[in-house]
């Protein structure tokens, strides 16, 4: 029972996010209108992705230190769920952008950069699939994972800020990042980030356990 408490917490938090996200009061802002509620669901996907990829990075470094094959499985499964969050982020972002910015894809620097970032991570899985030798696969993909994370951070957090972006709201654009999250929005937003990240960890640990069973069977 002790092992499972945080899974119950995950479910409670996400129930709260769905109910609070739709029913609590939000500021009435031009252009965004009711779509501001997408903030509670779209942005936590990106936070979830970054958290999952950071955990993946941690396990890749651990693998290079200790050469424990379990670290390699963990790194690849956390990267996997991270990319799932990233794809959800980009798809929900396009949907939201269609209604607020007028186009599915407007070549916004942050949109482009996150697409490149996801491609870098897809290449991680291509790389893994193309190597036969287990030890070699683990080592090369761990090094690549460190490179991928280091490329992702400037792509998502530095480069889009150096130029005009629809995201940070230059030229009076009401894209959400233009606004400071106030305390009432944070009341749902932060639990959403924590809830989705915990759900990501839950799914990742389950996949890691299945991979361990597979490994035991093939030995």
């Amino acid at each position: 029972m002790k092992k499972y408490w945080w899974k119950g917490l995950t479910i409670l938090i996400l129930f709260y996010v769905i109910i609070g996200g739709f029913l609590l009061e939000v500021p009435r802002l031009n252009i965004l209108n009711e779509t501001i509620r997408a903030l509670y669901f779209h942005v936590p996907m990106w936070f979830g992705m970054i958290i999952m990829l950071a955990i993946s990075l941690y396990h890749s470094i651990a693998f290079l230190n200790k050469s424990n094959p379990i670290s390699d499985i963990r790194a690849s499964e956390y990267a996997n769920i991270g990319v799932v969050f990233g794809v959800l982020g980009i798809v929900t972002g396009m949907f939201w952008a269609q209604y607020t910015w007028g186009e599915w894809w407007s070549g916004d620097p942050k949109q482009n950069a996150s697409a490149i970032g996801l491609l870098i991570y897809l290449a991680y899985f291509v790389l893994r699939g193309s190597l036969e030798d287990q030890e070699q696969k683990a080592r090369i993909s761990a090094v690549y994972n460190i490179f991928a994370f280091c490329a992702l951070i400037p792509l998502l957090f530095i480069l889009p800020r150096l130029t005009d972006s629809l995201h940070p709201g230059s030229g009076g654009n009401p894209g959400f990042n233009a606004y400071d999250l106030d305390s009432r929005l944070r009341l749902v937003f932060y639990p959403a980030v924590i809830g989705w990240a915990l759900l990501g960890v839950w799914v990742a640990t389950l996949r890691i356990r299945i991979r361990k069973i597979e490994n035991a069977l093939y030995q």
Binding site: I18, L23, L29, N33, Y58, L185, L206
Partner: protein
């Protein structure tokens, strides 16, 4: 531990934001010039939407829990099998 701290610092710095943001005012919550789904809310139909989402989410979570139970069972079977082989 040191490595963890460095990673934590990286994550925190990644969420730092530029300062030139617009504050959300209390008046934004009462600005009736901006169209919102007020009628849908006053008719209580929003509860239908929330209800549908909650049902879907609850069933997906139930499915995930069942999947986990099945995985635990497989792990146990594998453990028993390996013990038998070692005897």
């Amino acid at each position: 531990m040191k490595r963890l701290m460095v990673m934590l610092a990286m994550l925190i710095s990644a969420t730092l934001n530029a300062q030139d943001k617009i504050k959300i005012q209390d008046s934004d919550y009462n600005n009736s010039d901006v169209a919102m789904a007020d009628i849908m809310r006053s008719e209580g139909k929003i509860y239908v939407v929330v209800g549908v989402l909650l049902v879907i989410f609850a069933v997906l979570i139930y499915y995930l829990v069942r999947l986990e139970r099945r995985t635990s069972k497989l792990e146990q079977q594998l453990d028993n099998h390996q013990e038998n082989n070692n005897d």
